[in-house]
Amino acid sequence: MLYNIFIDPFVQMAQMPDLLVQTLWEGLVSGVLYALIALGFVLIFKASGVFNFAQGIMVVFSALTLVGFYEKFSAYGFSGHTAAFVALILTAGVMFVLAMLIERVVLRPLVNQPDIILFMATFGITYMLIGFGEMVFGGDPKQMIASELFLPSGSVDVEMLGGMVSFQKIDIAAAVIASVMIAGLALFFQKTRIGRALRAVADSHKAALSVGISLNQIWVIVWFAAGLVALVTGIMWGARSDVSFALEIVALKALPVLVLGGLTSVPGAIVGGLIIGIGEKLGEFYWGPLLGGGIESWFAYAIALLFLLYRPQGLFGDKIIERI
């Protein structure tokens, strides 16, 4: 038994390095996408101290809106690349309007309320968006307009290490786009005046107000940024599977990622995403058979649980400092 757990998987890895590379690559791609979802959470958490439960549904909602716009255009005979990009811009506009609405209707009346109240409000937003989304777009899964947005399909097969490793082109694109997006957001947070203001708002509303930071403006910016992250995530996940409300479950994978990386850290979201992504693929492939398979769905949560026991602030999160 011990042999099966501690020795055999590594022997397999060494014997078939091409399979190992394939597994690592798949883990890396889903890791990057997890990181992207987690980033949406981190953005809003940093700026308002609120865990935004609605991030998952925002991914679905933005993807559905994009496809919905495109379908409308197609119905009028306007299709192809131009139509797809017009739809993309319109969808970004919708996310902006959504951010403004959330600020106006939900956040503004709740200034200076305890975080748990705001957290509950994001549940409300979630169910509003589910209901509204189903009403407008229906509950059926839709096809993401990947090729219209110049996203590649097919795969590149590379011969290496005595075998064939196959890289899906869409995965390569997803990894690149997600990395660019993450780098941009990291710079935005660390280097800009607005980034500093965002962190300030997260720490204390009234202090931020007193130095002349407009909470309303900051919240619109943050929710819009989170909306854009959701849109990109939605396109990428949608292109790999379908666009449906089931995507929301995938978004929940961001929870263990955040526990691992720390709720307040952009690098944490990235590293956490990669660890979870690669960890669960390796776990599934090499250790899964020992437990009868299917460990991919809970492996991430098991890691998160361990972290909560020994390092509750995550790998990179702010140390919780409380003077007594």
């Binding site: 204390s204 130095v211 909470l215 702010d318």
Partner: protein, 259 residues
């Protein structure tokens, strides 16, 4: 300061209530340019509410506030900030997870204008702007003698130092009117003396107008040019420390009837 100097802020007949609770009733006073103005009164007299009205956290139901010659309608806190009103809080309100340096840097938010894109790249004018503001912040840090805690997250600091960092953040805004809500609460004598010195220096050398709430009467009488006394939301006295000290109503408010 001299009595002839112009009025910076005047409060006319301001009343503020929360539901049925009257926090402030028909209070009028003014703050002259360059003076140190104290607001005193027993607990619950409406002093902090008064500051909150001045910097736009609360909106009074009645009365007018004229700042720099302009009577203003409902004003938001960030508008007050952009017109040069800075403040500190009774229970320190800092950005606990951020360092001293970053906390004070946030005070410069309104003074920074370069595009976000260039800031992200730390390029050209944006870089120069960052350096220029950083210099101002370092000067403030020198002034308040908090060099040793520049990179410490403020949540870790003892209370007295936190109050000092909070003052630094307010100074970073280069305010014309500085509102201090109990700047010396909970401090030991040494820390109080330091704080007094900073306040006097600010007032004398930089000409900052200061309105402060304080319970330590010795400090109030030493520092301030004029004192306004509130009790149960009403103004009961207004004038120089000597006048106020001798006012029978004030003595009664502090020591009780029949003294």
């Amino acid at each position: 300061m001299n009595a002839a100097s112009e009025t910076l802020l005047s409060v006319d007949g301001v009343s503020l209530s929360f539901g049925g609770v009257k926090a402030i009733t028909d209070v009028s006073f003014d703050i002259r340019k360059g003076e140190i103005r104290a607001i005193i009164g027993p607990n619950g007299a409406g002093k902090t509410s008064m500051l909150n009205v001045v910097n736009g956290f609360y909106h009074p139901q009645h009365g007018r506030i004229t700042y720099k010659g302009k009577t203003r309608p409902r004003m938001r806190p960030y508008q007050a900030a952009s017109q040069g009103i800075a403040r500190t809080f009774q229970n320190v309100a800092l950005f606990r997870g951020m360092t001293t340096l970053d906390n004070i840097m946030v005070g410069r938010t309104l003074k920074m204008h370069r595009g976000l894109f260039w800031q992200m790249l730390r390029y050209g004018p944006a870089m120069r702007e960052e350096i220029e503001h950083r210099r101002v912040v370092e000067d403030i840090i020198d002034f308040l003698q908090i060099e040793s805690i520049r990179k410490t997250p403020v949540g870790k600091l003892p209370y007295g130092l936190q109050k000092r960092v909070e003052l630094g953040r307010a100074l970073a805004m280069e305010p014309e009117l500085l509102l201090l809500d109990e700047p010396m609460a909970g401090m030991n004598i040494e820390e109080k003396e330091d704080m007094c010195r900073y306040i006097l220096d600010l007032n004398k050398h930089f000409g900052t107008t200061i309105a402060l709430i304080e319970h330590d009467m010795g400090v109030v009488m030493d520092l301030s040019d004029r004192v306004v006394v509130l009790e149960y939301g009403h103004k009961i006295a207004d004038g120089t420390p000597e006048v106020v000290k001798a006012d029978p109503k004030v003595i009664e408010a502090y020591l009780g009837v029949g003294h």
